[in-house]
Each structure stands twice: as C-alpha cells, then as structure tokens.
Symmetry: C2
Subunit: 586 residues, 2 copies
C-alpha cells in the first residue's frame, strides 16, 4: 500500500487493515480441494494459498541450463508442493525456446500453463472479499517500484512470468464484488474463457475467408439483438465496434449519409449546415463525434432535462423548429437510454413522434441502458426504442461481457455498406468462391477489426436470455436496496428524488461536521471536497471504489452503479459503512 503522506490523511494509515490477506477462505477451500485425486488437489491448494504473488524463487529451481529437465518423482509430504509440474527451468529459457521453435511444444505448454496458473489465482482472488480491490501506488512510485523499460536484450521466461505477476499485483480487480467504479464491472467466467479462445484464434473480422465462424456468429448475434430491440424478424444491419463512443459516431455518420449521400465524395462543403440534438445529460461522445465528423460541437444542441435527467420533448421540438427557422438542417436526435450519471431514460415514444414529424434520424444511445432489454420487468423503460433508426448497445456494461463489446444496430439494411465501402480489391475480391455477402468488413470504418462477438455469443449460450435477465434484475434490485437504505438515513442527501430507474444511485454523504450547517458558501465548498477525499482514502485502503463527479450546479456527489453480478446486499452495506468510516472526520 502506498504511503498516503499527501496531507489530507488525518490519522495513521492502518496498513493492510481492511485488506489483510487472511488465508481463512483458502484453507477451507483447500480441504475441499484435497478430495480430488491425481494431484489436482495440491495444485488447487497452491493456487488458493496464493503463493503466485511471491517473487519467483530461482534458488529452488534446478541450476542446469536447458529446457524441460525431468526430475525424479517427488516424495515430499509437505502440501502444497509443486510436484505435479514439469520442472522447466525458466531462468535459462527465452521466448525463442517456445513454439514455433523446433521441439518447443513442451516448453510452450508448461509456460502457458504457468501463466494460466497465475491468472487462475488472480481470478479466484478477484472474488475474495478479504483481498484489496486495488494496491494503490502513485504514478511516480509505480514507475520507480519496478523497472518497466524496454531494452535491446531479451529477458528470460522467468522474468516474463515475474512481469505478469507484478502487473497483476498492481492491477485493479475489476471483478471484485466491491468495485463499483465504472459502468463496466465484474468478471464473467464464460466471457473470460471466450476471450482467451478469441486470442488463440487471433484473427480479424473483415472477411469470411479468415473468420468464418466469427462472421457467422456476428450475424446471428446482431440479428438476435435487433429482435430484442423490436425490429420485425430481427431485420436490419449492424456491427460490433470498439466502444460506445465509436458506435455513436457511426450512427451520426450514417444518419448524415442517409440524408446527403453526396457528403461521402464531396464533404461537408457540399451540403447545408447540419444540426444534431441530444440532452444535456447525454454522453460526451455525441459532441466528440460531431467534432470528428466535421460537423462541429456548436452544431450539437443540448436539450434541457427534467430533474430526473430525462430529455424534455417540448424543448426538443422547440429547438428543432428554431434550428429550421435559422436555415439549419436537423439530421439527428440522439436520445439516451440510461444516462451516464443519473441512469435516466429519455422518453423515447415522445421523441420518436417528434423525429417522425420533422423527418429526423432517431438514434438511441443505449450503451448503458440497452441491457435492460433482456429483462421482462424493466424493458418498458425503453419503450419506443423499436422506432429508432439506430441503437448503441454495449454488452460490456450491464451484461457483464468482458471489454470491449459494443454493438451498433441499424434498422435499414445496406446503408452502412454504402456509407463506408471503398471496395479494396485486395480484401474484397469479387471472384471468390463463396457468398460474398459474408465479407462484411467494408461496412466498417476500420479495416482490421477485433473479434468482439465471441464472448457475448458464448455467454448468451451459457446463460440464455433468462440468465442475463436474472443477473440484470438482481443488480437493479440491489440499487433499490441501496436507495431505500440511504434515502432517509442521517447524513445522506439524494441528488434527485424517487426510486432509481437504472442502477445509478446518486447521493451526497454529509459528514457529521456539516450536518447542522445552513446552506452557505462555506458548506458548499466543504461538501465539494467530501467525495474526493473519501474516494482517495478508499483507494489507499483498497477496500472499495465508487465514482463521484460534479454536475451542472451540483457539487461533487457519489454516483453508485451496480453492474457486477458478484455484488450482494452485504457489499452495499459495506460501502455505506466504509463511506461513513472514511468520511466521519471531514
């Protein structure tokens, strides 16, 4: 743990107090593991005891150089022991001893197995509440703590394994049940397995020729997602893109092309001045996209929201009319289903009516809220999404798919292709021997495109739609539990009234010293500092993490979000206790 020493810490740092790595859980599990035959019990125990975080003990290895030195059968009675492993001496091996080198099979398998053992241990620890969420160090400390530099000469495989351990030692455990910091949390085991397979398959999405299965799975999965959106028969188009911001940019790009296809060749100079509309609570990527596409951020008009963060349709209509009167061309409304901070759902039906009336492309940014389409109980919040022309939906958020997995869905088929295609003859040969409609790469902005679909597909097979539903319903139930717990609790103020629509719960913690104070400049300036200080302390202790931010005229407040299926009521209770423990003196 980093030494705080940065001025704001009023009492001694209780080194490791909340995150002491007691082997209690490990011991209990080890007893279970020992029922396994064939040595796997010992292996499991070794993993559970977590000796992988210790530095590699070179001394314990055979000193002779060369790969794969066999050694006599172990007769030790100390458990756990490493007898089950091939005793490969990594101190004398390099990456050049691995495949594709001649006779590299055994060294390779041992090396990859050892990496996997390190990862399995990390995975198990991620879910163990007695471990820290983060072992926080300041950037300069971390740079000095270890030599991260790149050199001319190779390192041994022993050093490579040590690099892996060190990297994980300082990583955030994003799967930890008490990590609430982002919209993407959790670590799904089937998703992880699928991502490992994706890495081993190491291919690109641009043609059926080099990614036959993945191209078909993208087809199957996007169709299913369009069905969930409510487009008849799942018809339409789509793509997995590198994140919600890019998906939103795609939507803007396609909407512009639909209205003025000449923009592709002639650019913005050839078309009238466009304007887009989105709410003041929408994601910053709408403006970012407008800047990139040459539309300009001034042409993104921010529509007012009600006190819950939902776009006000009458204000939207007023601003559209106003823009038209100025001679501008409204081409896109980006509604939000699940805003980033409040988790608000814009009123999609009213917005759809306005888009229809003024013939404007309706995009729904459901990056965060799209997952609720999987829930029979909650999907009404997205009513009207079926009238959208395009939808962003990030399974790597509420559905817990490993990063990255973001889908852009488009109602009109073929538009993406016309908008983006450049007919590269070295990739999209027209005289191939198979059905060329499966060469989908030319509809993307990217050329090479990472395989993001497999983890979603495999998780969907493993859980079924009902499994995703249960997972999502549980997170929403937990958010409601938190809301009920703090709404009338002393020392808490809600940022907005009423039950949360998504899992976002926004609140101020008011430390005892501020509770009696009148609303004043002093109170505001002290309240502003509460969340950042508590958050900093959380990170230094490593016990939990939750986000905070200011918004408009509201000073820093906590934004709690729950997307991790590992979280329980007790973890919510823990968070509240921790906020109070760390904030009592402020």
């Amino acid at each position: 743990m980093a030494s705080p020493g940065s001025g704001f810490w009023p009492f001694g740092a209780e080194e490791g107090s909340a995150a002491a790595e007691t082997p209690g859980t490990a011991r209990a599990w080890c007893q279970v593991a020992q029922k396994f035959t064939g040595g796997i019990g010992n292996k499991l125990c070794a993993l559970l005891y977590g000796d992988a975080e210790k530095p590699v003990e070179t001394g314990a290895k055979a000193a002779a150089p060369g790969a794969a030195e066999p050694r006599p059968t172990c007769t030790c009675d100390k458990k756990p022991c490493g007898c089950q492993k091939a005793d490969v001496n990594y101190a004398f091996l390099h990456s050049t001893d691995l495949l594709p080198t001649c006779n590299g099979e055994i060294t390779t398998m041992s090396f990859l197995q050892d990496v996997v053992d390190i990862l399995l241990q990390y995975v198990v620890k991620s879910f163990d509440r007695s471990t820290k969420v983060i072992d926080f160090h300041y950037p300069n400390e971390l740079l000095q703590e270890y030599n991260w530099e790149l050199a001319d000469q190779p390192q041994t495989l022993e050093e490579i394994l040590l690099n892996c351990r060190t990297t994980l030692k300082y990583a955030i455990k994003t799967g930890h049940p008490r990590y609430f910091n982002q919209l993407s949390t959790g670590l799904d085991m089937v998703g992880l397995a699928a991502d490992w397979l994706t890495s081993a398959a190491n291919t690109n999405m641009f043609t059926y020729e080099i990614a036959p299965v993945f191209v078909l799975l993208e087809y199957v999965t996007l169709r299913k997602m369009r069905e969930m959106v409510g487009w008849p028969g799942g018809c339409g188009d789509g793509i997995f893109s590198p994140g919600g911001a890019i998906s939103n940019m795609y939507a803007m790009l396609i909407a512009r092309f639909k209205m003025f296809p000449e923009v592709k060749e002639k650019g913005m100079a050839a078309i009238p001045r466009l304007v887009a509309f989105t709410s003041e609570h929408s994601h910053f990527s709408v403006k970012k996209g407008a800047a990139a596409l040459g539309i300009g951020t001034d042409s993104v008009i921010l529509i007012r929201c009600d006190e819950r963060g939902k776009m006000i349709p009458s204000d939207l209509e007023r601003r559209i009319v106003e823009a038209k009167q100025k001679g501008f061309v409204p081409f896109l409304v980006s509604a939000t289903a699940g805003t980033t901070v409040y988790g608000a759902f814009d009123p999609l039906i009213a917005i759809a009516d306005i888009c229809k009336k003024y013939k404007v492309w309706m995009h729904v940014d459901g990056a965060w809220g799209g997952g609720l389409l999987m829930s029979r109980k909650h999907k009404w919040k997205l009513n009207g999404i079926e009238r959208a022309n395009s939808v962003t939906w990030n399974p790597h958020k509420m559905m817990g798919v490993p990063l990255q997995c973001s889908a852009l869905l488009v109602r009109e088929e073929g538009l993406m292709q016309s908008c983006n295609q450049m007919h590269a003859s070295y990739l999209f040969q027209q005289d191939k021997h198979y059905d060329l409609s499966y060469d989908t790469g030319d509809k993307a902005l990217q050329c090479g495109r990472h395989v993001d679909v497999f983890k979603l597909w495999l998780m969907w097979r493993a859980k079924g739609t009902t499994g995703f539903e249960a997972q999502i319903d549980k997170c929403l139930e937990l958010a409601e539990y938190l809301y009920n717990k703090i709404k009338n609790r002393e020392g808490y103020e809600m940022v907005f009234d009423g039950k949360p629509q998504h899992t976002n719960v926004c609140f101020w913690y008011i430390p005892p010293g501020l509770r009696g104070m009148e609303d004043s400049e002093e109170r505001t300036s002290r309240l502003m500092k509460v969340a950042p200080v508590i958050k900093a302390r959380m990170m230094e202790y490593g016990t939990t993490m939750v986000s905070y931010q200011p918004l408009g005229d509201k000073v820093n407040f906590f934004r709690m979000v729950i997307s991790n299926p590992a979280a329980t009521h007790q973890d919510i209770d823990f968070l509240i206790d921790e906020i109070e423990r760390l904030g009592q003196d402020l």
Copy 2:
C-alpha cells in the same frame, strides 16, 4: 472438408490428402513427454494426440449430477487417460455454478483449465504442418452443420466446452506456418499469454485510476516507439487505437485541427476546402477517413507511383501547386511506408522536403512497414520518417503481436488532447489525488478503450529489440528466397522487377496451357481466373493460403507476404509446389 461440387474442380477431391492428421509427430513428442513425472506426461500426450477435436463423450462421464464429484484413483494402464483431471461432470453444471457463485472456486478452475486444455491443443496443432490451415465450409453449410442460435434457456458447461471445440474446428489457424494470407499472421506465445492476462485484468484505458499499470506501460512503450522513429528523446504523443485505419483517421483529424482549430466547434463550414494527398497505392483507409471526417473522398488526391509502387515526389508537388491554384488548402500528405500490395516504401525524404516547403502535415502510414524500424539492416527504407508529424505503426502486422495493436505516434505533444478532449467530469475529475497527466483518455475519440499495449510490451521484454530484429530479418530473407526461386522459374511472371523491399512478392502463375500463348484478350481473361481458382482449391484442401488481387490494369496476381516467424524455406517451397499442383490443369 467441404465437398467442392462447385463446378471448377476438374478431378476428385482427395479428401484430407495433404492435410491428413497423421499422429506421427504427436507420437514422437509423446515419448519425450512421458519423461515428465506426476502425470503431466499423460496430459501432454493427450493434448498432442488431439482428442479434443472429438465431440465430448458424455457417456464416459459420471452420471451423478452436481459439481466436483471425486472418484477413486485411476488404475488404468491405457495412456493417455484423463485420470489427472478432477472429474467434474459438466453435463449437470451451468455458468451459474461458476464464480462468483458461492463455493464456485473449484468448478471454475476446472472449467477454465479445460478450456485452456482445448486452447493449448489448438495452439500446438497450429504449428503442426500435418494439420490443415482451414477446414473450409461454405457459409450455408457452416450455418447448417451446427446450431449456432441464441436461446432463452442456458446451455450446460458441457455444451459450452463443445461450442469452444466446434468454433476452433472451423477456425483458420492463423499461426500455421503455411498461412500467408494477410499482413497479420503467426501466433506469438508470449503475446498470447499477455492477451490472456489482459482479458483477466478486464479494464479500460481511460484513467490511471482503473488501469494504473497499463497506462504507464502505454507511456513507456509509445515513448520507445517514438525513439525508434527518431524523435529526440522519444518526445511527442500517441495512442494505441483499434487498427491502422483508425490511426490514419486520427492523423487526418489532428492535422486538420492543427491548421484550423476552430473546426472542432464550427465544423467544416467554417474553414476553407481542404485537400489531402496520398499515393495511388496507399491504403483505402485514407479515403475512408476523409469520407468520415466530412472532407470527402474527392478531396483526397491520388499521386502517381513508379512501377515499384512508390509515390513520385514531382507528381506530389505538381498536384499540391495545382490545388493551391484552385484555392484549396493542402493540409495533409499521407506517405506510405510499406504499401499493402507491393510493399513499397514512398521516398520519405523527398516527401518531407515538399511538406516543409508547402507547410503541409506529413503523415507516414507505416502500418505494415513500421516494423522494419526494428531492423538495423532494413530501417534505411524508412529514412525521413523522423521528419513526419505523425506515424501509424501496427505491431500486430510485421512484429507478430496478436490482434489488435496499432499505434498512432504524434510529434507535437498535447495536440491530441486539445483536438479531442471534452472534459467529461464523471471520468476526468480535476480534484483527484494523483497526477492527472496520467488520465490520458480524453485524447482519444473513444471513451472506453481496450488494453492493447500489454501484449506488445511483454513481447518486447521477452524478445528485446534484437529479438524483433531477428524475426523481421528472417521474414525478409524468406521473401528474398521466394523471389530468387521464382524470378526465372518457368511458369512465373513477376508483377514488378527487382528484389522486394518488404516481404511482399507479387507474381502471376502461368499454367502450362497459357505459357505459349501470345498476349491476347483470351489469355488475359484466362489468366485472370487462375489465382482465384488456385486460391479456392487451396482453401478446400486446407493446405495453405495466400492472397491475390487485381491492381489497376493488372489482372489477378498472387501477393505473397511473410510475417509469420514460423515459416521456413520448406514452407515457401511447399507453397510453390502447391500452386503448381493446383494450377497445372488451368
């Protein structure tokens, strides 16, 4: 293997002939493996024998439901056997039995271990020349062969493992020594390990807060890459982006912003008409980017190339002058270091002089050729790159890093940030307790950004710069071997004269029936079909894969590229034999 039956196959399909999976190699290796104690020998043998491609034998499993049923120590003398594994009966288990479920540790570890075993077997097979590069099936066949659909109800973990096996059965072995189809080939073991770790860490690059190590490693690695480019002290800026096309688009975006910063707010309407220049052999992403950014493809002027595919500087200067005379504003020259088809290097010094003279941003698209900077023998081909304002360099191509890994390097620090930042207060809080210069997310177009740096960093540690150099020099040497082999060989015509500059070797194979023919329309129309038919047959046999395309007035020719360190002289010989075997009757 798919039944050809598509009309162009003149003789019987020799089922599995070239790709018969003889267990000879496996047997030899198994003997070595048996030297290992503690059962790992048997496990290695099982993997080497490749029984993972057989469907899961449910019958052989214990019938009792529930997790982790222990069974008595195995006494069988049949090797390999599965005795070393915990006998978890996946037929009765679901993803809900895995972590984070209570007591899910052992089931989880067994499941992930079984997935890893499937992957290890795939990895070992990938390098085995007796296995097919691809088990090709037409899209409709593949859709029918297996049920890929997504359902409401969950599948068992047994079915999930089967899904993994099936997916890999039909995947392309992109690491196979005879897979030459794309610029990205090969499967690096350290890179694979690093990608597995990245998946387990499952985080996002936007802030130091949630990716402390990866943010620092991106900083260290980009600085090192800028040093290799030749910028003093490695100064400058950069980012890992989702592929070369996006990196090139970034360059265009930043170049535009540098010249007209008001474009961010006001859009293209507020600035003069811009024009960009790139060669006729450049990558299509330059035009794709111009279309997206609202510049328009008509404003990308294609400069003529010499017969080797290099941009002609005098033509560039002429077109810049011409554009200025028309009142347009030249803002970007995108030179190419390693063109996609010919592997040509534009003359960067001459282009830099012109860019300087006319004050135009010089971008170098070194997506493919950038890797040669690692080679003391070949880096002169990029002389002048140090004068560029920005550089695209894809380590996932010539350096063999797993997909995706593309860097955009920018000489001027801070420009990316000014160009793209939107100050989202929920991510980039200004009152955090650590040095905010490490929160680099706001310089990206993306919000969430996949961790692409770790695999490059770990491979660099494992190989050292000298290891990358050796790997790259070897591929170039192989390309020269191929060139020397076919340049005067009967039945071959080179597309351009002279030794290849990169590993691209472009040639026509002239089947015996065409060799005597005069240059005529008939010959051209028959020659045009040769490469596609040979390629289709290669895929149906699954023996090797190489790309082809037409270019300008040149009909379909083979473009051989070598980026896979697994390839040898024998593999080059095999490719030539295979082309001749499959093309003799055409």
